[in-house]
Symmetry: C2
Subunit: 487 residues, 2 copies
């Protein structure tokens, strides 16, 4: 007879019922090999007496194990551990370390086996310069959440058909269609819109829908690195086109189109990431002509449309004569706050349907309450009012950054004041190595990017995007102070 | 001279400044071909006089167009439309319909060209039977939102390093690790956890990390159809293994492993979708042995762990001796409400790092405020208390459904009462065609699935998952009433 009084430790103070404690511990002992398949358990009366418990408690525990399949009843003998459980090797009673997750997976998987970053020795970071994010302290998040909360209160009737929310709620899609018409002249209906979890998901869905291994895709150089990674992930062949002061080089694009059957061109028309240049009207029109002539899709990632200082935004290519070749992407993660995960994509209805089918594989749906709360803020004009205020504030913050850069760093950097967006592109002159500067700044509590993500094929841009929107003037003053001390 | 008084329509009541109205309309006329490249514009004084506006307004409009690149200055002559704009064909002044999005995309894309569903003639749906979702009316969403709102109020200092939130906030990952240890014996740390946008995203990331075209993957039959679609999407070869009353057929799995180098097995251990059977302890142990012998990964999708009625849940395979071969998936979209888009995945650290790298391509990050709000609810015990209450309520709702089925449909269906979860699996006997029943029910305002998603290779299960958790007793009574009238 096993020492059941030792094996089964009852904690009467625990919120877990005693019968469940017993059942759970018996399973543990089966799993650890202490109780072997076929072994007879003590009778309920006997075990109850050993543990000084009511017999009903033991009966409840055994019944639980019976219904779970761990025990069987042998007529006239009593309860035994299920006989056809696989033979378990005797294992130590100590916690089984092989049940704990470790660093390495035995089953091979794909992608480089990434080194785990250990951050233990890093100095504490007190201030972060991002690469262009809104300031969550300014955004109407409280309004959005109030609207959200009011939707919870009105108990919802169960009328949502499963699968119907993949592309977003009808209400937000319809509201967005009107908003895009009014704010930027895009003529689209709800059926031309999918609501996503942010611009990144839109890029991913478009790439997966349009590209297969061996297809050709054009992208700027330098460029937002995660966009490149998405295109590469599809197996497409990537053609990199230089970005100059007026945007992507259209003559080079035309040459590429003559040579290769290009399927897709990824474009950031306003404030190209990272260099902040805006595509000129001449190039916009030529690009539209090219996409018609060579029948490729333009993925217009216009996440920065909402931010322009002392200048009007260009209307998107999607508002021009495009015959459905321009897929338009925007994001409220940029317009409101990075924490708000809502983006959208506009395209022909059949393309949007296909993208939604792919989206279902990746991510069933968004939070429909959040979607409808956003729709209300758009309808009420809250988004419009907020953006007006944000443009004013960000314009002042850009003024401040511009002054700081000219005062403290003028001789060490190449930089042109952007006309909009949320970041400035600052290239350090040869001799000032950004990755060393970043290391020194980190020691002083300031995080800045080391800029390596923008380097391609060994060309070091030595460039830093300084996000000016998310920092208060005093925070930016401190950041540039540390930065200039770190050079 | 063009009739500028006709071309430029000023609306002084508009919130848009007049100079912007003029600039915008001039761009429209360039785009529509009315104003051609190189054309000279009237002088500012002259245009001001024609339009009865202050000259400064016209100067502001021209400056805007200059800085946007639409105009150039020709010395001694004045402003002209930028000469090197591409030649634009004269177009009608009517709204250009080719700028509107339509049904078809000219650029070829992948996937079937889906027929657009037109819902115009569908009868209004007043009641929906889902396939197993929680009731949002019961969940602590108001608590979650209160916690969320309080996080907005405390203005955040800009200390979030870009890219650091891909796998979830450190706070939620650490909290979840403790929660999984306490609630189901999984021994993992924050580095073994990625927070995703729901179980679907976890499945997608795991599949993309573990499978490449030609790899072998095992899945149950019948099964949650979107899981199959994800595995197929990786290009893997799918081996379907029958699911009987005790779960997947382990002997058949072993045979498959002997024949093919299996990489991954997708498993729903509790309340298999759709059939609601739970994998027996014997099979659990045999499966763990198999995955060690044949070195494949088990993707344990245990989204239903939290719901058990009059029976304890089995501890997950991930809590057994698995040597990092079991990837564990759970979701608060199931535990709390479908609208809450937070799921998680547990695995070896190197696998989780790789999955996070892939996740960045698909979806940069979650809402970190929501993540931390959830962490607080877990820490405060709110989730635990809610689940206790929900289990009681759902158990009663299952009792009610069980009674309804036995009273009204007993002779027409094959059904076994589930021991947990949020849905019952009801197969209609031959002669009662589910897709016809669904059509008739829709005419009476009730949505039920037609069950076709579960059919594989022509085997019609004729089966319906009846989600009992999300409907109040009176709603379920009405639903089964309509259903029985529709047979």
């Amino acid at each position: 007879m096993l020492p059941y009084t030792t094996l089964l430790q009852i904690d009467k103070a625990s919120p877990q019922p005693v019968y469940q404690q017993i059942a759970g511990q018996i399973v543990q002992h089966i799993r650890s090999g202490v109780l072997k398949p076929g072994a007879l358990l003590p009778g309920t009366r006997e075990l109850a007496s050993q543990l000084s418990l009511h017999r009903k408690t033991i009966v409840a525990a055994y019944n639980e194990l019976l219904s779970q399949g761990w025990l069987e009843v042998t007529p006239k003998k009593g309860f035994n551990i299920t006989r056809n459980l696989p033979e378990l090797k005797a294992r130590s009673l100590r916690p089984d370390q092989s049940a704990a997750y470790g660093n390495r997976m035995a089953v091979p998987f794909y992608g480089q086996k990434a080194a785990m970053t250990t951050k233990a020795n890093e100095p504490p970071i007190r201030l972060v310069v991002d690469d262009g994010h809104p300031d969550p302290r300014l955004t109407p998040l409280p309004l959005l959440m109030r609207e959200y909360a009011s939707r919870i209160k009105h108990a919802q009737r169960p009328t949502i058909i499963p699968g119907s929310l993949t592309a977003g709620t009808q209400r937000l899609r319809t509201t967005l269609a009107g908003y895009l018409q009014r704010s930027r002249g895009i003529q689209a209906g709800a059926e031309h819109l999918i609501v996503t979890h942010g611009a990144q998901m839109s890029i991913y869905l478009a790439a997966k829908t349009l590209l297969r291994p061996g297809d050709y895709a054009i992208i700027g150089d330098p460029i937002y690195p995660v966009a490149t990674q998405v295109l590469e992930n599809t197996g497409a062949r990537i053609i990199r086109i230089a970005v100059d002061d007026h945007g992507m080089d259209i003559t080079a694009i035309e040459k590429a189109c003559k040579r290769y059957p290009v399927k897709l061109l990824y474009l950031i028309p306003h404030h190209h990431h990272p260099t902040t240049v805006t595509l000129s009207p001449e190039r916009r029109l030529r690009l539209l002509d090219l996409c018609t002539t060579y029948n490729f899709a333009i993925l217009e990632d216009d996440y920065d449309y909402d931010y322009h200082y002392n200048i009007l935004p260009h209307l998107p290519l999607a508002s021009y004569r495009h015959q459905g070749r321009v897929i338009y992407i925007g994001s409220f993660s940029k317009s409101l706050a990075s924490s708000v995960r809502l983006g959208f994509m506009v395209g022909p209805a059949d393309f949007i349907t296909q993208a939604a089918q792919y989206r279902r594989l990746v991510d069933l749906r968004n939070d429909n309450l959040l979607e409808d709360a956003l729709a209300t803020l758009i309808t009420n004009g809250d988004i419009h009012r907020y953006l007006k205020k944000a443009n004013k504030t960000y314009s002042e913050r850009l003024d401040n950054l511009d002054l700081l850069l000219r005062t403290y760093l003028a001789d060490k950097i190449i930089y042109r004041r952007p006309t909009g967006g949320m970041a400035a592109w600052v290239r350090f002159k040869p001799g000032y190595d950004l990755s060393q500067i970043a290391q020194r700044a980190a020691k002083k509590g300031l995080y800045i990017s080391n800029g390596k993500d923008y380097n391609n094929a060994g060309i070091p841009f030595n460039g830093l995007r300084i996000g000016f929107a998310s920092l208060l003037p005093e925070e930016m003053n401190a950041a540039i102070g540390i930065l200039s001390q770190s050079i």
